[in-house]
C-alpha cells in the first residue's frame, strides 16, 4: 500500500513544534511504516510535492512565508496549522504593537553595539510584512493543532486519526494553548 505522504515546514516559527513532533520518540519508527516525508526541515527535499498532509508551524512574517504557505496549500490535500503562531500569530505577533519601521530601527540602527548601522536591503532577503498574520488569513486551513508547542501526543493523535480515516479530535488532556 502507498505510504501517506507528509510535508512539514516552519514559517515564522521557532522549530519548537518540529521538536515536539520528534518528541514522539520511538513512536516515530512505527509511524514511518505508514508515512513518508516530502519537503521538510528534516530532509533535503527543496519543494513540496503533491502530498496528503501538510504540517505548517509558525506565523506569516515575510513574503517568503506567504510563498511557501501557498506552495503547501496547492500541494497538500489536508493542511494543518500547527502551534500557537500558525493559529493566531503567537508570540511573534507581539510585534504588531509596533510599526515595522520601529522594529527595524530598533534592531539595525538604534540598538546598543550596532556596527555600521543600516537596514539590510539585499534583494535576496524577503521583505517583512507590515504585520504578523496567522495562516488562515491567507489560505484555507483544514485542521488546527493548538499548543506552544502542541504535545507529542497531540501529533500522534491527529496523524493516527487521519491515517485511520477518522475526523481528528483532541481529548482535553492534550488540548492546551500554552
Amino acid at each position: 500500500m502507498r505510504k501517506v505522504r507528509v510535508a512539514t515546514t516552519s514559517l515564522a516559527g521557532c522549530f519548537g513544534c518540529h521538536m515536539s513532533f520528534l518528541d514522539m520518540d520511538e513512536r516515530l519508527v512505527g509511524l514511518l511504516e505508514h508515512i513518508e516525508f516530502s519537503r521538510s526541515p528534516i530532509n533535503d527535499i527543496k519543494h513540496c510535492e503533491p502530498c496528503d498532509i501538510g504540517l505548517v508551524e509558525g506565523a506569516l512574517c515575510n513574503a517568503d512565508n506567504v510563498h511557501v504557505l501557498r506552495e503547501f496549500r496547492q500541494n497538500c490535500k489536508i493542511l494543518i496549522a500547527v502551534g500557537a503562531c500558525a493559529i493566531n500569530g503567537g508570540v511573534p505577533a507581539m510585534r504588531n504593537h509596533f510599526t515595522l519601521e520601529e522594529c527595524l530601527n530598533e534592531a539595525f540602527l538604534d540598538e546598543i553595539g550596532v556596527d555600521n548601522p543600516h537596514i539590510p536591503n539585499d534583494v535576496e532577503i524577503p521583505l517583512l510584512l507590515s504585520k504578523v498574520h496567522p495562516l488562515h488569513e491567507v489560505v484555507h486551513v483544514d485542521y488546527y493543532l493548538p499548543g506552544c508547542p502542541p504535545p507529542a501526543d497531540a501529533f500522534v493523535k491527529i496523524i493516527t486519526d487521519l491515517l485511520e480515516g477518522k475526523e481528528p479530535s483532541l481529548p482535553r488532556e492534550i488540548l492546551h494553548y500554552d
Binding site: 500557537a84 493566531n88 508570540v91
Partner: protein, 243 residues
C-alpha cells in the same frame, strides 16, 4: 410548595427574585459564564450563559426564574454558539497564552478548553491598547481585557471605591481608571481590594507574582471550569494550588 423550573429535563427549585443562573448554581448545575460572579450584580455582557427558555435565547444571569420554564442548557447548538462567542473574545484581543502570566488560571482560556476551541476562526483584530504599569503593585494589560466589568463592579459594590469604568463606544470601548490622570497609580486601589484580584483573564495582574505555580498544578490543570465555578457558589474551600 416550592416553585420549580426545568433545566434539561431536571426539576430545579427556585425562590422569587432568583435568576435562572442563581437557581442553577444553587442546584449544582453548571451554566457556562464569564462576566457573572455571585455576590455582584449581574451584568449580561459575555452572553456565554445564553440558554433556550421555551424556545427563546436569553441570558440566564439576568433572566428571572419563573414557574414552569422549560430551559435547555446542554445542547450541541448552544455549545456551538458559546464557542463562537469565545472565539470572538479571543480574536478581539491579543490572547497570546504562551506568554501570559494567567495561563492555566484564566477563566476565558478554561472556557475555551471546555468548548473544545481549537482556533479563533475569525481574522485577528490585533488591537494596540495601552498598558498601565504606573501602580507599584498592580498592572493593567488592556489587550487582554474582555470588558466583563467584574473589576468595575467589585470596586463599586464591595470595595466601596470607584476605581474603574468602561469608556468609549463600539469596538473602541476600553477599561479606564477614574483618577485625574487616568493612571492606576493615582487611584485609591490597593492590592487587597477585591477589584485587584477578580479579573478572570490576564488584564489586571499583581506585579512580581507571575509564573509561580508549576505547570500541572495551576487551577485549571487540576479542576474543570464547571468544578471551580460551582465550588465558589456552595462555598466549599477551593484547594487550587496545593497538594
Amino acid at each position: 410548595m416550592s416553585k420549580t423550573i426545568k433545566i434539561d429535563g431536571v426539576d430545579v427549585p427556585f425562590e422569587d427574585g432568583q435568576t435562572i443562573m442563581d437557581a442553577a448554581l444553587a442546584a449544582d448545575i453548571y451554566i457556562p459564564h464569564l462576566c457573572h460572579k455571585p455576590g455582584l450584580s449581574p451584568h449580561g455582557s459575555c452572553k456565554l450563559c445564553t440558554v433556550d427558555v421555551d424556545g427563546r435565547a436569553v441570558s440566564s444571569c439576568t433572566m428571572p426564574a419563573s414557574e414552569g420554564q422549560q430551559i435547555a442548557n446542554n445542547t450541541p447548538a448552544l455549545k456551538e454558539v458559546r464557542k463562537t462567542i469565545i472565539q470572538m473574545l479571543f480574536i478581539e484581543g491579543n490572547h497570546l497564552c504562551p506568554s501570559c502570566e494567567k495561563t492555566g488560571d484564566c477563566t476565558l482560556q478554561a472556557l475555551a478548553y471546555h468548548h473544545d476551541m481549537l482556533d479563533g476562526h475569525f481574522p485577528q483584530f490585533y488591537p494596540r491598547r495601552n498598558v498601565d504599569a504606573s501602580h507599584p503593585t498592580l498592572i493593567i494589560d488592556r489587550d487582554r481585557c474582555i470588558l466583563c466589568e467584574l473589576c468595575v463592579r467589585a470596586s463599586r459594590e464591595v470595595d466601596g471605591k470607584n476605581v474603574f469604568a468602561i469608556a468609549g463606544r463600539g469596538i473602541k470601548r476600553q477599561l479606564i481608571v477614574n483618577s485625574p490622570s487616568g493612571k492606576l497609580a493615582d487611584s485609591d486601589i490597593e492590592t487587597e481590594d477585591l477589584a485587584s484580584h477578580i479579573c478572570p483573564v490576564g488584564a489586571i495582574l499583581i506585579k512580581d507574582h507571575g509564573y509561580e505555580v508549576p505547570i500541572g498544578r495551576r487551577t485549571f490543570d487540576l479542576h474543570s471550569i464547571a468544578e471551580t465555578d460551582l465550588e465558589q457558589v456552595i462555598l466549599k474551600k477551593t484547594v487550587h494550588h496545593d497538594a
